[in-house]
């Protein structure tokens, strides 16, 4: 009985506290919350509009940048992809075109994950004259077992009048695939 009494008083106290916190104040808060929500929806619409506008500016800028800095006659873009299902941990890629270092890229965890999921990284965009060019690719990473892995390969690609796209597909030492495969478009 004593235990029952205590439960009742405590519950009564809790109820009183809840009533204290709720009631008129609670209604006012709910009202305020509804007003906030309405305002937020309005703002959300405006934010969506400005995002759309900025995306359009970005698109115009990309075209301008491409025309100004990488005209199609000299443009070369190099892409990096991982062979499907490859478990290599790619640490870095270094590229030389005609003996000149053009990029040395170190990968973050997020970037590596994106490559593993099938994303393709545009690692380099630049300009070269029409004709044949030498491309040296150095890959640093770790194999499936955690062992250090480094590989260098040389390729030749031909630049025509149209923009040149070069795809490098990388595979780890345990995959049984070609470590660096070159594809040209």
């Amino acid at each position: 009985m004593a235990r029952g009494y205590r439960i009742t008083t405590t519950h009564a106290l809790v109820l009183a506290v809840l009533l204290l916190a709720g009631g008129a104040n609670g209604w006012a808060q709910q009202d305020q919350r509804e007003r906030d929500r309405q305002q937020m929806r309005g703002l959300d619409e405006e934010v969506q509009e400005i995002k759309s506008d900025v995306l359009d500016i970005a698109s115009q800028l990309s075209l301008l940048e491409e025309k100004l800095l990488y005209p199609s006659g000299t443009q070369v873009a190099i892409f990096v992809a991982l062979a499907p299902g490859d478990a290599m941990r790619l640490d870095a890629v270094r590229l030389k075109i005609d003996g000149q270092l053009v990029t040395h890229y170190i990968y973050s965890f997020k970037e590596l994950e994106a490559l593993r999921k099938g994303g393709v990284q545009r690692i380099y965009v630049g300009n070269v004259a029409t004709g044949d060019h030498r491309l040296e690719v150095l890959v640093d990473g770790k194999g499936e077992g955690g062992q250090d892995y480094s590989r260098t390969e040389q390729f030749t690609f031909r630049k025509e009048v149209k923009p040149k796209l070069v795809e490098l597909t990388l595979a780890g030492p345990d995959s049984g695939k070609s470590p660096i495969a070159l594809g040209e478009l």
């Binding site: 703002l43 400005i50 995002k51 995306l55 100004l68 873009a77 994303g119 009048v161």
Partner: protein, 626 residues
């Protein structure tokens, strides 16, 4: 009714949070680049890339020859998905509607209708969602078949037709990634339909389903929490406890489950057992609402066990905690009002990974962030915060572009300075070379025509060598000088000249075919050289054009872009100010609500501590009296 709707939202967020599909054979590198950005959560860059690609693709005369053609349907869907992920629902809807209205096959149209319905549902536009689902007819791609039905059931539940939802959900058993959500929603639909015993059985089943992935584990926890709460409210404390015990201790619902598990034990009169979950809870993050409640529940259990001294001590600790938390809330409110909260949120280094919200809370000297996790639990706050962060990202991009446009101006100016003095001289040289080339090309054409004519009307004399031509001309002079002169000496000379003429003619006639062949070979060799010359000529023309194009015709375009960037920057600044103010208002409102709650708990603890001391004192004097 409100709770299930909120839960539906959770299911939707968890169930449809999958990323874009990976193509087995990726043919378009730029599409792959868009995916690369999307997989890293860089949706702005992903949309920009894919938008550009799709615009170029649709502008082609023969899009079938483009590499994007292999992925175009996927790309159209993905751009809509990325827009959704970037919280651009209106644009995403438009993109998907465009697919829906386009000339696509039935399966693609049905998938588009499903995606459109999903967007409408997420935006709480239930009629539109139903309308979009009604457009699904005929072949539905197997990959989305269960998703479509799951969404249909969600809409049924949200529009107050739980019985229909039950009918839709019951046969869904195929997709393991949906299994937990289907089982949970079926339980909720049964509950909404007033079939409580069946709902309890269903949730009980759902709460014991195998799960390994975080989403599956979370929904299973949710099932057990909801079921435990239902059973608790219906007075079945023992079963409620069993259900709540199944909630993982490290999951997102563990604090609520521990609190309710304690209440289930306490309500059954087992205070000693209630202390187990409540004591675990009391040692957790003190800003959590369940933890703050546990601080009162623990001494209440001790008091119920007649351990009044211990209860008084624990009420004292609760009082201390509430006072401290009220101070922190006050500091948070003050700090938020000073604008420091927004400054913390946009710190670049604090947003490097997914755990930034948790780390932000432990920033030294930043009271405004203490209750951030609690604020993040509110959908409104999250939306406002994400919008604010997106605006900050836009602002930094626009700032960078403004500088970039100035750099473009510099590049153009330097190119103009470089090329303008050089080009007139180069053009003059080129014109001279061009006229010489034209003369030579005309000569080549003339030779080719003559050789062609000689195939049908042989002219051996035209293939005579220079020596033979000289010899022929000398013979002609000799023959002319001999004229008609008579005498034996003149006759002998005439005969010799005729013999020589005969030799010359013989050679030209007999060697004619070989010479004609050789002449053709030489013409072909000349063609090779002319071809090389043509290529060089074209390369020069291209380079010359490129030189002009590298600095001419950009001024107006850059100026227009500069104006647009400036206008956008102004709008972003304005929106950021309004959005920031909204965040601060929401944060302050929620913190004030929390403060009220803490104050009420403090009052309660204060009464309870006095009450416990009284009881302890009475118990002690009673014992002494005896």
């Amino acid at each position: 009714m409100r709770v299930p709707r909120r839960l539906l939202g959770l299911c939707l967020a968890l169930g449809f949070g999958a990323g874009p599909a990976v193509c087995a054979d990726l043919r378009d590198l730029y599409f792959g680049e868009a995916l690369y950005h999307a997989y890293q959560g860089q949706y702005f860059d992903a949309i920009r890339r894919l938008d550009t690609e799709l615009a170029q693709y649709h502008g082609l005369d023969e899009p079938r020859l483009d590499t994007l053609h292999y992925h175009v349907n996927q790309a159209e869907f993905d751009v809509g998905d990325f827009e959704l992920d970037y919280r651009m629902h209106r644009r995403a809807g438009r993109a998907i509607k465009a697919v829906l209205e386009g000339a696509v096959d039935e399966a693609v149209r049905n998938e588009a209708a499903f995606r459109l319905a999903r967007i409408h549902f997420q935006k709480d536009q239930l009629d539109d969602a139903q309308h979009a689902l009604a457009r699904i007819q005929g072949t539905v791609p197997p990959a989305i078949r269960e998703d479509v039905e799951f969404l249909r059931a969600n809409i049924d539940m949200a529009t107050g037709r739980p019985a229909d939802a039950v009918t839709v959900l019951e046969p869904l058993h195929g997709d393991p990634s949906l299994a937990g959500f289907v089982a949970y929603n079926l339980g909720i639909a049964l509950l909404q339909d007033g079939r409580q015993p069946e709902a309890i059985e269903q949730l009980d089943k759902a709460g014991q389903m195998p799960a390994t992935d975080p989403a599956g584990l979370a929904i299973r926890d949710k099932c057990n929490l909801v079921l435990g709460s239902m059973l608790f409210e219906s007075g079945d404390f023992e079963r409620a406890k069993r259900s709540l015990d199944r909630v993982r201790l490290d999951g997102p619902f563990s604090n609520q489950a521990l609190l309710r598990a304690g209440w289930a034990e306490a309500s059954a009169g087992q205070y000693d057992r209630a202390l187990v979950p409540w004591n675990i809870l009391a040692s957790r993050e003190p800003t959590d609402i369940a933890v703050q409640e546990a601080m009162l529940a623990v001494p209440h259990a001790y008091a119920s066990l007649d351990l009044n001294g211990r209860a008084a001590l624990m009420y004292g600790r609760a009082l201390e905690l509430y006072s401290h938390q009220i101070e922190r809330v006050d500091a948070s409110i003050a700090s938020v009002r000073e604008g420091r909260f927004l400054d913390d949120l946009i710190r670049e280094e604090s947003r490097q990974d997914e755990g930034w919200v948790i780390r932000l809370r432990s920033l030294p000297g930043a009271p405004e962030t203490y209750y951030l996790m609690e604020l993040m639990a509110s959908h409104d706050f999250q939306t406002a915060l994400h919008n604010y962060l997106d605006l900050e990202d836009l602002r930094s991009r626009l700032d960078a572009w403004k500088t970039g446009l100035d750099a473009f101006d510099d590049i153009i100016r330097l190119r103009r300075q470089n090329y303008e003095p050089l080009l007139p001289g180069i053009d003059a040289q080129f014109r001279e070379l061009d006229s010489r080339m034209r003369v030579r090309l005309e000569q080549r054409e003339h030779l080719a025509k003559r050789l062609h004519a000689m195939l049908t009307a042989p002219r051996p004399e035209l293939l005579a060598t220079a020596d033979e031509q000289v010899a022929g001309e000398r013979l002609a002079v000799i023959e002319e000088r001999l004229g008609d002169s008579g005498g034996p000496e003149a006759d002998a000379l005439r005969q010799r000249a005729a013999r020589l003429r005969g030799v010359l003619t013989w050679r030209l006639e007999t060697e004619y075919d070989d010479r004609l062949t050789t002449a053709y070979e030489h013409l072909n060799e000349l063609d090779a050289s002319v071809g090389a010359l043509d290529r060089q000529y074209e390369a020069f023309v291209r380079t010359r054009q490129a030189a002009t194009h590298s600095y001419v015709g950009y001024d107006a375009r850059i100026e227009r872009l500069r104006e647009r960037v400036a206008a956008a920057l102004q709008r972003v600044d304005l929106l950021m100010a309004r959005q920031g103010h909204m965040i601060e208002t929401v944060a302050v409102n929620q913190l004030e609500a929390r403060r009220e709650r803490l104050t009420a708990q403090q009052v309660q603890a204060r009464y309870a501590v006095a009450d416990s001391y009284d009881r302890a004192a009475r118990a002690q004097s009673g014992a002494e009296g005896r």
